[in-house]
Amino acid sequence: MSSSRLGRWILTVVLVVFGVVMLAPLVWLISESFTEETSAFYLPPSWIPRDFSAANFSAMAELIPFGRMAMNSIIVSVVATFGALLVSVMAAYAFSRLRFAFRDRIFALMLAALMVPMQMTIIPVFFLMRNLNLVDTLGSLILPALINVFAIFFFRQYFNSIPRELDEAATLDGAGHGWILFRMLVPLSSPAIAAMTILSFEATWNNYFGPLIFIRTEERMTLPLGLVTLQAGQSGSSVVVFAAITAVVVPALVVFLLFQRAFIASVATAGVRG
């Protein structure tokens, strides 16, 4: 008994130390970004700012339009996430509840396209955007994100698990397809909706490849590309780049801590169900 208690104690210590090591780079990042430039990056690393200053953040805001970039990130992520949710639940409803010609063939074709990586289509999509005059606009980031085949598949599975007798009862009461979908199935699918909202918000919020291809102007960049542009520009010192990374990471940390359960559940459900 006591040896297994000792074992558990050792396990706890090892895992907690491991967790501390995982977080260490982030603590260092935040500490340095709040340090006066002249005393930053001394070794050994300091876990609290040696010489506290918020000046790096104002220096960063002068080099890149950080507020504008954050706003672009919010616009793109919110519009793309909700747009994709709307398109996906409607398609999933059609696949789950309606009968029409070629339905299952269209579904199979879409599923097969899950195999097609985004990079494979980026060159033709780039020309399409160029012809539509959408290069260097937020539209070029939003439009391709509206089709999410995995979400369609995921919602269809979820809708299939909801008894059809409910639809029939609603139909007898005079409900149309729109009512059945948006007033009944969608509310009944809230765990699936939450999981997909988080996953697609995260994917668009963190997207770097799309902006790298489509966006040229700083005023139209989202945060990930803005960060890299700041660093590559060499105009800001390392500590200013640190301030920018902190300004991106800390809000993400706060949102994550608030919704941690939902975040982890989204990965676990999509993983287990997918």
Partner: protein, 312 residues
């Protein structure tokens, strides 16, 4: 899986229905599915077909395209940079898959055995949080952590008696460094999948094995791992496919593809050819090869899984 779900949906539709219902369904189907089909054709299927077509042309995006048939594929077959990219991508994907699966599984088993809820919460949070951060922030941060003069990582490695190489300028160490950074970024994802999978292993099986005298190791090998095999399989497919498309950290940390092309990945090469050298046809041929390899690897993984994965 797709065939099975389609079969169930077909068996659901029972009995004949009036033609007017059928007609109303067709109209509603058109309306509900319309946006998705339109977007799918515009941004997935259309570009996919155009991409295959483009791979048959030489096109610098300015002068009219010139049809060269399989010329791009022939050129690829003798392109040393393409082989570097292929080799690096396979090394990266295999290393990434193995390290993620082993560590993700071990951490999940460890955290599952923790009694203290505080410790468990802390470890779960610190493992998963890096996954939420964008690659751009992660890549830039780690470039500094591993900096040879003022990096935090360098300092602690030296404290442990290891004198680290100059990671991103050393052709031997640039790719391993990126493998490590990727591991830090996404191991929390594998961990969460594994932790969810562990909950599906029935407790009675462990109990029965314990009564039969199996020790902890034997229970791990003969109960936990076989029962977890669907999860392990899913995690291996997801990690491999994700790793095969590695691009962000490579482009951010080593914008030229690293010393001696040592970090050049296949998607990075596609990007260089398509958006820096403006060879749309050649880049499309690279994309086609990526697609074929990914399809083959996925098929192989499913074939292996049929022999190995335990399904009730």
């Amino acid at each position: 899986m797709s065939a099975q779900t389609i079969a169930t949906s077909q068996s659901r539709s029972k009995g004949p229905r009036s033609t007017s219902t059928r007609r109303r369904d067709t109209l509603a189907g058109f309306l509900f599915l319309g946006p998705a089909v339109l977007l799918f054709l515009t941004f997935v299927l259309g570009p996919f077909i155009v991409g295959i077509g483009l791979s048959l042309f030489r096109w610098d995006m300015l002068t009219p395209p010139e049809f060269i048939g399989l010329g791009n594929l022939v050129a690829l077959a003798s392109d040393p940079s393409f082989y570097s990219a292929l080799r690096n991508t396979f090394v990266f994907s295999l290393a990434s898959m193995i390290t993620h699966l082993v560590a993700g599984f071990a951490l999940a088993v460890g955290v599952n055995a923790l009694r203290s809820t505080v410790a468990s919460y802390f470890v779960r949070t610190s493992l998963f949080f890096p996954f939420v951060i964008s690659w751009a922030a992660v890549a830039l941060l780690w470039k500094y952590v591993l900096d040879p003069t003022f990096g935090m990582g360098t300092y602690y490695l030296e404290l442990l008696g290891i004198s680290p190489p100059n990671w991103f300028t050393d052709p031997t160490w640039a790719l391993p460094a990126i493998i490590g950074i990727d591991w830090w970024h996404t191991v929390g994802f594998t961990f969460v999948i594994m932790l969810a999978g562990l909950q599906t292993v029935p407790g009675q099986l462990h109990e029965a094995a314990r009564i039969d005298g199996a020790n902890a190791w034997q229970r791990m090998w003969h109960v936990t791992i076989p029962m977890m095999s669907p999860t392990i399989f899913f995690a291996s497919v997801i990690t491999f496919i994700g790793a095969f498309q590695i691009f962000d950290p490579i482009q951010i940390i080593t914008p030229s593809g690293g010393p001696d092309e040592s970090t050049l990945s296949i998607v990075m090469y596609l990007y260089q050819q398509g958006f820096q050298a403006f060879q749309a046809g050649y880049a499309s041929a690279v994309a086609l090869v990526v697609f074929v390899i990914m399809a083959l690897v996925t098929a192989l993984q499913f074939w292996v899984s049929r022999k190995w994965v335990h399904n009730q």
